[in-house]
């Protein structure tokens, strides 16, 4: 039906104001719940990097379970300056590694989490950030007391293709990283390569890529290499 211009203007104005109010209301009311979810998800990702917290799905109270596990295993956290020195009195959990990566490399701070496992072994957990094919990929790499051997990893992604690149968040893929080393015998920084079948494997420094997920695999390789490089000053200090 044809309506006057005035009617159309009033109609669209009212509609836009109503919709804006509705969406603003929904966003405000739901925000605390969403933030709690994000916080729990982050704690769970950190725990997964040291192979903990896998019962979260079956726990009666997921949030409570994750928080108690986190408090139990993550004994200490560090916030580092670019030189690898600890900045006093800061909780690494409050630092958002993704937004730090966007800053200039001279003013960044880097969060590190220290996990003490049941057998007393110490694991340093380093956040890694980068991009895959469709969007960001992120994760945590845990390194043992020798500051060389990988004791666990966890990766996730925002929008990689299910069945292909998205496989980086599966345990079979992540288990390949166990006991790989980031330095070679001469002490040079190598990190871990993600290689296709036809590429020559490097013992201790390579894992199998995902078929059909080449760009994600290469993105992950770069993510680990570039992120871990930032922690080298800290790692070298602890090695001695």
């Amino acid at each position: 039906m044809n309506k006057s211009n005035t009617y159309i203007f009033i109609y669209s104005t009212v509609m836009v104001v109503l919709v804006a109010a509705l969406l603003a209301l929904a966003a405000t009311v739901l925000k605390p719940f969403q933030q709690k979810n994000l916080e729990i998800a982050k704690k769970l990702e950190i725990l997964h990097a040291v192979d903990k917290g896998w019962d979260a799905g079956s726990a009666d109270n997921k949030n409570k379970y994750v928080e108690s596990e986190y408090d139990k295993y993550i004994a200490k956290t560090f916030v580092l300056n670019p030189a690898g020195d600890t900045i006093a009195d800061r909780d690494a959990f409050e630092v958002d590694a993704t937004s730090e990566m966007k800053k200039d490399s001279t003013v960044r701070v880097y969060p590190v989490f220290l996990c003490t496992k049941d057998d007393g072994s110490k694991n340093f957990i380093f956040p890694v950030r980068g991009k895959g094919l469709w969007g960001p990929i992120w994760g945590y790499v845990a390194i043992g007391d020798d500051m060389n051997t990988i004791t666990g990893v966890f990766f996730d992604h925002q929008g990689e293709t299910p069945g292909l690149g998205a496989e980086i968040n599966t345990r079979w893929f992540q288990k390949q990283f166990l006991n790989k080393k980031i330095f070679d015998e001469a002490g040079a920084y190598i990190s871990v390569k993600v290689l296709k079948n036809n590429e020559a494997k490097i013992p201790d420094h390579s894992v199998d890529a995902i078929s059909g997920g080449t760009i994600t695999s290469k993105g992950l390789e770069a993510t680990i290499f570039d992120s871990m490089k930032n922690y080298l000053p800290f790692i070298n200090k602890h090695k001695q």
Binding site: M1, Y11, A26, Q34
Partner: protein, 212 residues
């Protein structure tokens, strides 16, 4: 109550499942059928979300249909769909975080699903709210069963699992030399499978075959 589910209304529900299927007959919403059918779980939640959004946007547009100025009706429809999708997305994030993480960008893509705009334009603008609501559910389900069917085949043959359960491994077929078919997880395979469904459907109901 009997009036609410009259034979005519039931047809609105069942027609899109077969003779007026949005994917195989009207060929709408193909893009998301390719994108989310590698695994069954996201396909199912996608089908459910589309059904909910289709039903409620149809309901809202149909209720407002007499007041909507014809010249800006597409914009109004888009605003209603977008608002609903954003609210669904926000609710998923707040209360079922794990599911929302699985669907990631696909929830937002519901806004661009041609089935929604198609039904709003073709049905909700000209019919009563209840009929429109049923029509939305019917079309959502018609879209959904194709998605779930295609994702079942692709997940089974491509990844060897059903709903994430490693059925091929449990059957022990890998030990006798069976390997997953990598082509199944590639997007073109979804198109071929949809083509197979269309072929089967047309060979069964000759009415759908256009005369030359």
């Amino acid at each position: 109550m009997s009036q609410l589910f009259s034979a005519k209304n039931l047809k609105l529900l069942t027609n899109p499942l077969n003779m007026e299927n949005p994917i195989t007959v009207q060929v709408l919403g193909i893009c998301s059928a390719l994108a989310v059918t590698v695994k069954m779980k996201p396909a199912f939640v996608m089908a459910l979300s589309v059904t909910i959004v289709a039903a409620f946007s149809n309901l809202i547009i149909s209720t407002l249909r007499k007041g909507i100025p014809a010249r800006i009706r597409i914009i109004v429809q888009l605003v209603v769909v977008a608002t609903l999708v954003i609210i669904v997305d926000q609710l998923l994030r707040a209360f079922v975080y794990d599911v929302s993480k699985q669907l990631s960008v696909f929830v937002g893509l519901i806004i661009t699903n041609c089935i929604l705009m198609g039904r709003l334009e073709a049905f909700a603008m000209a019919n009563k709210p209840w009929e429109s609501f049923i029509d939305g559910i019917g079309n959502g389900m018609g879209y959904g069963w194709i998605l779930i069917g295609v994702s079942f085949v692709r997940e089974l043959l491509g990844s060897g699992t059903v709903w994430g359960y490693p059925i091929m491994e449990k059957l022990g077929v890998y030990t006798i030399g069976y390997v997953n078919n990598g082509v199944m997880i590639m997007p073109p395979m979804a198109l071929i499978l949809v083509g197979v469904i269309i072929w089967i459907q047309r060979s069964r109901s000759k009415k759908l075959i256009e005369s030359k």
